[in-house]
């Protein structure tokens, strides 16, 4: 990375060794990725200590709230299983109510983590190292919450294994031509691959925690971490395969993350219901998923960086970049809303026209306009740099975004279904208490898992963030004037490492 300007965009001196360099070349990544001149050990300390210290009282308070939510979920699900999905507010045309809305909403949120880890990794966006661990954890937990809803929506949850190609007593196989079955594969494989990616990223950090536990004399902790870290030593012969595997996983997860919400959108788009049967759905769903996922990451990180004192690792620059992604994807989503409307009119299909006019002006107009306001209008505030860098504003917009995205799914599911082809079956859908409790309870599940994560797992990728520090580059230590020119340290028989900036090399004295 060529950091050769004397000042970065925010007026702070540039990091690294090129501060006084005469080449005035401005790079996109000016601001230091980690603030506060931290050493390697500082970073280890800063992140690890939260998993090692005595559990703070505030954590227990938050955890008891989360467990209350989890308890509510348990009651709501038990009531559902004993009585059947009739306890939900579903009726004849609206067979998919809050359960599917919540499923799509949680899966959408679950997109940010893998997008940050995989797509931004492939694009060499080094700022992701500060946030990817927490975002991936959020992804995993959101996918768990999402899977809950269709699992219990099937009614007879004890035969949920019918959805998997497992030989059963009826000797029948799942219908592989159904998008619903594609969804089973897409979401569960997404969860599996995200877990693998997350765990592979964790191995070096678990090794760090293990070695710290040994030094602290906490042998039980060391044994558990020793088991989980698989005997990691940080050997370069291991890093070589490890980095290759990580890159490949990122490459595999990138099409996967784009496919998951595409497949979710097939649940709708492959049907013939006006308002669902549109080709715009896959890209529109993916953009919406990234939009809501990034919003959820901002919500969580704004809180946890403050609580855990990680402002130097998760800097305002990181949050600003997240807000830019929210702005871009929010605009794509807004554009898709308008396109849908236009195409409904342009198609000349009476049912399509009715479906869309009914969305905006029918019985569910309030949901439609909540969606439009939250998703199309509020994120546009992020065009202003001051708002992008304001914690209260980004927190508020991250919340409204997720409200808006929940209403988007509500509009798609309910407003398309409640006016069926047969006017005699038209009906108004309202959720029951059990719908609400299940949804509230899913937050309890999410919060429980996330709090356990914050307590026991390093919430920032320690090894990765050390790797992006300027002092992690061997050339940082080159003898002489301190300019990392890449020459002189190696014998003539060793070839020049790839990627040395020729401008920098030639400018070095």
């Amino acid at each position: 990375m060529a950091t050769v300007t004397s000042k970065n965009a925010y007026g702070r001196p540039a990091h690294g060794d090129g501060a006084a360099d005469d080449v005035s070349m401005k790079t996109l990544e000016d601001a230091p990725l980690v603030a506060g001149n931290l050493s390697f050990h500082d970073i280890t300390e800063m992140v690890s200590v939260h998993t090692e210290k005595k559990t703070p009282a505030a954590w227990f308070l938050a955890f008891s709230l989360a467990l209350t939510g989890l308890g509510i979920l348990g009651i709501a699900v038990a009531f559902l299983v004993f009585n059947g999905p009739g306890v939900w507010g579903l009726n004849n045309p609206v067979f998919w109510g809050w359960a599917i809305v919540n499923f799509v909403w949680w899966v959408g949120i679950g997109h940010a983590g893998t997008l940050i880890s995989a797509v931004l990794f492939l694009f060499r966006q080094k700022w992701r190292t500060s946030i990817n661990r927490a975002a991936e954890a959020m992804t995993l937990f959101a996918v768990v919450c999402a899977l809950l809803f269709p699992t219990f929506h099937v009614g007879r949850v004890w035969v949920i294994y019918y959805t998997l190609p497992i030989p059963n007593q009826m000797a029948m196989w799942p219908n592989f031509k159904s998008p619903l079955l594609w969804d089973v594969f897409a979401v569960s494989i997404y969860g599996t691959v995200s877990l693998l990616f997350w765990y592979v990223g964790l191995i070096p950090d678990l090794g760090t925690l293990r070695d710290r536990a040994v030094r602290q004399g906490r042998m039980l902790r060391a044994k558990i971490l020793g088991f989980l870290s698989l005997g990691w030593t940080g050997s370069n012969r291991h890093w070589r395969h490890y980095e290759r595997a990580y890159l490949i996983l990122a490459g595999l997860a990138t099409p996967l993350v784009l496919s998951v919400h595409s497949v979710v959108s097939f649940d709708f788009a492959v049907s013939l219901v006006p308002g669902w049967h549109t080709t715009i759905f896959p890209p529109y769903f993916v953009a919406g998923a990234i939009f809501s996922g990034f919003a959820m990451v901002v919500t969580l990180l704004v809180i946890s960086r403050k609580v855990y004192g990680l402002e130097n690792l998760i800097t305002i620059d990181h949050l600003e970049k997240m807000n830019i992604v929210i702005l871009v994807t929010g605009s794509i989503v807004g554009f898709a809303y308008i396109t849908e409307f236009f195409i409904a009119w342009y198609s000349g299909v009476e049912y399509e026209r009715f479906a869309f006019l009914n969305r905006a002006t029918g019985p569910y107009f309030w949901a439609y306009w909540t969606m439009m306001t939250c998703n199309l209008i509020f994120p546009q505030l992020f065009w202003v740099k001051k708002f992008r860098r304001s914690i209260p504003i980004m927190f508020a917009i991250s919340i409204t975004t997720n409200i808006g995205m929940w209403f988007e799914r509500f509009v798609i599911v309910v407003s398309s279904l409640h006016r069926d082809f047969l006017p005699s079956s038209w009906d108004y859908y309202s959720p029951t208490l059990w719908d609400v409790l299940t949804y509230v309870g899913s937050f309890g599940l999410f919060a429980t898992l996330f709090l356990l994560f914050l307590r026991f797992v390093p919430m920032v990728a320690i090894a990765e963030i050390k790797g992006v520090l300027p002092q992690a580059d061997p050339h940082f230590y080159s003898h002489g004037d301190g300019h990392g020119d890449g020459h002189g340290v190696e014998g003539p028989s060793i070839a020049e490492p790839a990627g040395v900036n020729p401008m920098q090399a030639s400018s070095a004295g």
Binding site: S39, F40, D211, W239, A245, Y477, V489, G491
Partner: protein
Amino acid sequence: MALLLPKPIRTALETRANEHVGLLAEFSDPGALHDAVVDLRKRGYTRLDTFSPFPIHGMDRAMGLPYSKLAFLVFVGGVVGLLAGAALQWWTSAVDYPINISNKPLFAIEASVPIMFELTILFASLTAVGVMLAFNGLPKPYNPLFYSDRFGRATDDAFFLHVGEADPTFGRATTASDLFGLGALAVEYVDHAGATDLSATGEPIVLEPVAGPTGTTTAFVEVTDLSAAPVAPVTPPHTGGQI
């Protein structure tokens, strides 16, 4: 228990456990470590490894490591997943229990693409992780390097260079001398009995009374014969706390 394993596997496990018997030197920073590796390779060492809290840019090249062959195996895994996805859908829907649904073809590629794609990704990802662990010999619960107290900081902020005893150029005293000469902060000899800190004076130390002339460098080279002695059978001591 180990005796129940077939001999080739036992041999492989012993080789694996012995791989990290040798000298472990700590260096101050990634730059010094990189330079030391380059230098040692010029002196003919081959069984080198470095340990660092993060991957060091350019170290693979400095160590002369070839390109990881992982990607090819992942590709194979992906192809297997793709074919498995096609075979699963074809066999279940068109062969084992054909059902006519809306008069759609019993098997068609178009409707099979999503699951073929998903299984490709699943198989390739599992292969990537499995092969990475296999290539790295992980999980590896016992590693003599963990006897070194210093080594615990390899996952924090310390940088280590290891020269394996199996290296033909290895000599306990000469190599230690080489390492100190390259600026090592400390050098330890690590084997299955534990870690021995060698003096940090920069001079090779006499490990055992050596018959013959002393006081010259060649005498210390004789010490290498000790390390060339047959390696003790691998009996991991499993002392408490050495994870």
